[in-house]
Symmetry: C2
Subunit: 343 residues, 2 copies
């Protein structure tokens, strides 16, 4: 059955995905992406994120070691004082938006993405994600921790870095996922994403990474070809609640995910990834679980991507290979980075 | 107020958009897109859409003149016989999906996009859109007419063409827009999109094209930088209901939109566009209006695009210039195509 076109339902955001497995045979005559090659230098004098270099606004980065956080020089959100007033005409509704945007340099080493860092270095990033979330959650309703990786994902600098955007409102997708998880919890008495972990553990076909505390699956409802959902195997609603052993093991899972990604098409695998969980607006969110989404655009090789355009923008998401095929391909990759010997 | 960060609400799909006008000053150091230059040859021997040429599956195109429609050789949807069975576990829901995918060549002239065709040639395309919708609506719940233009929008061939994907189910976005329009109609006794036309006519600041029967605006809630919403000024729920004068005038509006787009950054302006309206599943859809969306990716020049990644994928859509600024920029373009003198 899985080779015929069908639709699958995403219970987290309530959307359907059209799956057309037979379509992966179509020849690709469209745009080829520039292959994202891992950086090789440890320090680039022209990089505005490297230690000691000057940023666009004239600030000089300190000679940092480890993880380095600074306020985004071109923040999409500004502190409260600048907020616009709300308008409330029937067809023209708006409300003010304010918040804080920061950049998180993962390492002073310009050439090392998550896939090439050691587990203790990744655990230090997890700690900063947790610290930033804890600090910003004091006066923001949501703290979005994320990473855009690769020029095809709009990332303007290959230096390994992520971002955190904290907002005084709860953004749409966060609210929708929370609503659906709360409704599931009320209906079934267990968190949706913990039920999913036990089902996937039993079914096996979509599991890619399985560590002591974490599991990464290609979800049943994945829209992006090699999309992953990274799930804790225990009850937890946000990053700052993670304990030491869970953080260290998360570093192991993140390393395995990013190494398998890089190995799939032997490139520095592009993606947007980020963390979801319970909002910090003081609401009650029973059954809402912490989790990370990985949304990678590549489809068939380091230079052929999936375009979410046309039908996908106007009607509904569509994918060409099944989530089970994607999971099998990722499981077949080596757990040793393809460049490991060269380093 | 409009220069401070704020959120705006989209009453068609119920989503919010984060607007960060001050952010348009940020320098762009990321990926540059290949500039899409209009094609100059009328016939390309290597183009699988040109008249008389061979397609990937070995079929030879007829020596067509005018508009030419054929079944998509790599259809994402197949006829009913191939449909997969539904699965209905709690976390693993699926249903069968079947349908018809066709390609619509706009003109035998390889070098002429909508912006460079005459009004009577565009009116002939409108007629084919209407005919295809009418025919496919007999046994499909939805008929999605759309065009992906430009390699940056995943279009694999510059030959001017669109597509039609007809589905036996009503896709998510169509169902959501229909629900919201029906709810508005029940609450306020008038179609949402006709109310919008009269408000925008009065406010003027977001109007880009205004013909006898049609109006194109940058909607208050636009997510893409130069997004347009093309609205009929009269009650109509689908393409096949359009009368001759309304079709001819639609050709005028489409020509003006696409010429202004090309002139904005002096390139063959990429976009995905498509038509929405009332579904054909036999339901009652009072107040649901026909309309077209144009979703173009370019932000600041022919080579700098907006990336909907990271925060946008994980939290909510974000834009850097206001819809009012975008409308003003489009109004300032010439109504004569920048290449008109050369032809
Ligand atoms: O059918 P095409 O033009 O080969 O393909 C293009 O349009 C389709 C419909 O919007 C998308 O699913 C594809 O990702 C895109 O590359
Ligand atoms: O902040 P950056 O890395 O310059 O910009 C990138 O990430 C942002 C947040 O996802 C997006 O809004 C931008 O479109 C993207 O280019």
């Amino acid at each position: 059955m899985k080779q015929s076109p069908h639709r699958r339902f995403n219970p987290l955001n309530g959307k359907w995905i059209l799956v057309s497995p037979h379509r992966s045979q179509r020849p690709w005559l469209g745009q080829a992406e520039a292959v994202s090659v891992p950086e090789t230098v440890a320090h680039d004098p022209d990089c505005y994120l490297c230690a000691g270099n000057e940023r666009a606004n004239g600030t000089i980065n300190p000679e940092y070691s480890g993880v380095y956080v600074f306020e985004n020089d071109f923040a999409a959100l500004l502190p409260e004082g600048n907020a616009a007033a709300a308008e409330n005409e029937r067809l023209f509704r708006s409300e003010s938006a304010s918040g804080t945007c920061r950049v998180i340099c993962f390492s002073p080493d310009h050439g090392k993405s998550l896939a090439q860092l050691e587990c203790d270095e990744i655990a230090a990033i997890v700690d900063v994600w947790a610290e930033q979330t804890e600090a910003l959650a004091q006066n923001h309703a949501w703290v979005q921790v994320f990473e855009n990786k690769g020029s095809v994902m709009g990332c303007s600098n290959p230096h390994p870095h992520g971002q955190v955007w904290a907002t005084r409102h709860v953004p749409d997708e966060i609210a929708t996922e929370a609503d659906n998880q709360v409704a599931y919890f009320k209906a079934h008495g267990a968190p949706l994403l913990l039920d999913l972990v036990s089902q996937e553990k039993y079914k096996k076909e979509r599991v890619v990474v399985d560590t002591e505390y974490w599991m990464a699956i290609v979800p049943w409802w994945a829209s992006w070809p090699f999309e992953l959902l990274l799930l804790p195997k225990f009850a937890v609603s946000s990053l700052q609640q993670l304990e030491r052993a869970q953080r260290n093991d998360l570093a192991v899972a993140l390393q395995e995910i990013t190494i398998r990604y890089d190995n799939l098409f032997q490139c520095s695998f592009p993606y947007s990834m980020g963390w979801h969980g319970a909002p910090f607006d003081g609401g009650d969110y029973p059954g809402v679980q912490l989790h990370a989404h990985f949304y990678p655009p590549l489809l068939r090789s380091a230079s052929v991507r999936k375009f979410m355009v046309g039908f996908e923008m106007l009607a509904e998401a569509q994918r060409d290979l099944t989530p089970e095929q994607a999971a099998a391909a990722l499981r077949q990759t080596s757990q040793v980075h393809f460049l490991a010997g060269d380093q």
